[in-house]
Symmetry: C2
């Protein structure tokens, strides 16, 4: 516990039954927050001064961080679960995704993003890494403001009240020796100069707003979509900017590996290592089809991997080798990606579960920490919080003095977690929580969800429903 | 639609925005129910006479059927997710399960079962097949009433208000050439005569209550736990009783297959076929480690398989070969089994998803029906409803005249399903629904869940929390 006398800026202290800090739940501990939206101290109930907000029958946990999102794909939920060819794979799904991507207006993009971010908030997510690749008109013309669509998405997150890093995507081509696809024109900034100029403009503009809630990172889409020279220039730009998040799809599909070897003579992570792309600011998204040697390269560079299991099972991508990554020391973050479900705890448990199905064993992932009985769950929860924050460059993810006051509460009497002992609660939350348990969500000390509802919920849902009707009518 | 003039017993008609019948959602259709708790007709809004209850912004779906449950295992949720040996498998988990099983009093068993059934109700489940193997004291002594514990579980379901078939388990030994395990004494009725006498007594007693909501089936635990002669006698008894459900764990673990071959010289399904156990009343639970030939034997006998993917992934059992079963024509039901999660829609989607992870393809399961875009989702939803009802001998599972009025409603504005077109809704429900969307649950026309809450929720949770404290203290 922090010495309560050490800080005196607390304007309000939240006092739940239980509070998750340091890998375990503590009872009788208050979360003292200042007016700037930061945690001042963790204080024993007896030592609390000033205003107390009691959260009875509630546990407080750090807000979750969604490190990989394509918000607009929320419009596709449930629309692609049928066979479109005799050999239906990711690549057929992608064509269906393009059908939405090419038809959304800037206002549509804001409306669908608001819907996705609202659902994130309701599920306990307080910060998102938005891997944003819609830049131009469907015909490939830049808008007057080349960042119009990026700003629509940022605006959506700000309206909902969650933090966002806009991971601005560089996309130059359909693939190595692949014919151009008209449906990708919207993503294209075919030279690095244009991409960097636009990204830098967005960065400067966003910095003038509120650097605490909104920031910008770079995201070369994939090795397939960005040629070597372009990639080098983006990496140079990122390095010159210092500590900005650098995200990239890596080895999601066997075809990604094959085409990388064909073009560069190396597997994806080897190639990125060779190009000096791997740093502590780098996040490889998916990293499913990688070797142990590649995991070691990621670990040596202190890079992060972002797994997206609910999407990866939906797309038939395969199973992230999380045991290999954990053993090598690579931090694993989590993302809701295609938004087929928005439930980061389901992603956390699948990280372990898919390996159980493969190995026919239990507790495949190596535990860590001082509390053996819940060490696995605590580690998976870290993936949804601390590792996500690391990946997107956020300060949130843990409840400790100086951190942003980003947290959510769960109802201890919810049927999905009722009866859990304090020592087991994180395990019950990670392996069993239903969204019905999530009651309050705070970002920077500001409450955005109360009793499971968001203030803008009705309007957001109504606008999204109209958009869906327009998009898919007939 | 039914001719509204044809029936005149309707006492109330529920009129939601959408109603799921015949594999699709219809709008403007009312569900007319009689005072006996049955559906009288499906009636176009204009033709409704008598009392109308409007369910605005709600869709009505048939109640789900949970075909395989061990209610008491709810007390283990989140308590077994750590490594207990260097090679941690189902069999180490089983020892931990025994630690709960051996210590529960009859009252405890009722309290934990109420908690599990309450959560089932909240998740849209209206009928359960309870595979019940706790019969005696921990020392192996029969209670004065040998069905005391069965009746505790039945009482729990009746208090919550869901239908139950008590699948009374026959358990004679730890395994073929396996030393007796003291921790199994509670399950044992070591001769078939005792088992049949007790089962028959329960059956007669239950029949005097309400055969519509409660009934009894037989459940030889597994080939491992029941020797051939015993199994034959149970099968004879079941046949003499006519149409009673006959459930059995089959090929959950590779070790189950190995020991069956060792003892009987045949794989599990071959052996059951040879013994004439497979009938249309038979359900093989799990059936993970079976061949195509075995799937054909099940299909020829018109037997059902009950998959339990949320448990099977938790226990590291493996992936149910649902594509093989579907192709052979075996109906697949679903069960929540160990209660690690109670979410039958998650089980439904995993039936497909685990195969996608294995095959690296999408839409692996063959669709059926007249609505190609949602045929896969509709088929998975049938697993959670119609096939479950078939497995446990219930009449529910579909909304049609003469069926019990067992149904649940979902809020069309819930963030998890908002914006779905009518034609896509079943797909969005199966692949994306969060429990927050489930609002009302009716069993036999009686509302047991309203706005996501059950009338006995607080008391049930409180009692369960006390039980957990007692069980796991220290």
């Amino acid at each position: 516990m922090t010495d309560p006398g050490k800080h005196n800026h607390a304007t309000v202290t939240y006092l739940p039954d239980l509070l998750y800090t340091g890998g375990r739940f503590e009872s009788g501990v208050g979360l003292a927050c200042d007016s700037g939206g930061r945690i001042v101290s963790l204080t024993r109930a007896a030592g609390i001064t000033g205003e107390i907000v009691r959260l009875n029958r509630r546990a407080v946990l750090p807000g979750m961080v969604n490190a990989h999102s394509h918000a607009f794909q929320r419009s596709l939920r449930g629309r692609t679960e049928y066979r479109t060819s005799s050999h239906d794979t990711f690549w057929t799904w992608r064509e269906m995704m393009y059908s939405a991507a090419t038809r959304l207006t800037p206002d549509d993009i804001r409306d669908v993003a608001r819907m996705a971010f609202l659902e994130m908030a309701l599920s306990g997510i307080t910060a998102v890494g938005e891997f944003h690749y819609l830049h131009r008109t469907a015909e490939g013309e830049p808008y007057n403001d080349p960042n119009l669509l990026s700003k629509a998405v940022i605006g959506a997150a700000r309206e909902v009240g969650i933090r966002i890093v806009l991971l601005r995507v560089a996309y130059a081509r359909g693939g190595y020796r692949v014919e151009p696809n008209q449906r990708q024109l919207r993503f294209m900034e075919s030279d690095a100069e244009t991409y960097i100029r636009n990204t830098d403009a967005l960065r400067n503009e966003v910095n003038r707003w509120d650097a605490d809630t909104t920031w910008v990172g770079v995201a070369p889409h994939s090795i397939r979509a960005v040629p070597r020279e372009y990639l080098r220039q983006v990496a140079e730009y990122a390095a010159s900017m210092g500590r900005i998040p650098f995200h990239m799809h890596v080895a999601e599909q066997p075809a990604d590996v094959k085409s990388c070897i064909e073009e560069h003579g190396q597997s994806p992570v080897e190639f990125l290592n060779h190009e000096d792309i791997l740093t502590e600011y780098f996040t490889g998204v998916h990293a499913i089809h990688i070797s142990e040697a590649e995991a070691r390269l990621l670990a040596n560079a202190r890079a992060t991997v972002c797994a997206c299991p609910t999407t990866e099972r939906n797309l038939g991508d395969g199973i992230v080798p999380a045991h290999v990554l954990f053993n090598a020391g690579v931090p694993v973050a989590l993302g809701t990606d295609s938004q087929i479900q928005i439930d980061l705890l389901e992603d956390a448990r699948e990280l372990e579960y898919h390996l159980r199905l493969k190995e026919l064993e239990r507790t495949v992932l190596p535990p860590s920490g001082d509390y053996p009985q819940t060490a696995l769950a605590a580690r998976l929860f870290d993936c949804a919080t601390i590792n996500g924050a690391r990946s997107i460059g956020a300060e949130s993810g843990r409840l400790s003095p100086g951190s942003p006051a980003d947290f959510f509460t769960v109802d201890l009497d919810d049927a999905s977690i009722a009866g859990a002992a304090v020592a087991d609660l994180i395990s019950v939350v990670v392996f069993g929580l239903s969204r019905t348990a999530i009651k309050d969500v705070f970002v920077g000390g500001k409450q955005i969800v109360s009793e499971g509802r968001h203030a803008h919920q009705e309007e957001t849902v109504t606008k999204f429903a109209s958009l869906q009707k327009k998009l898919w009518a007939g």
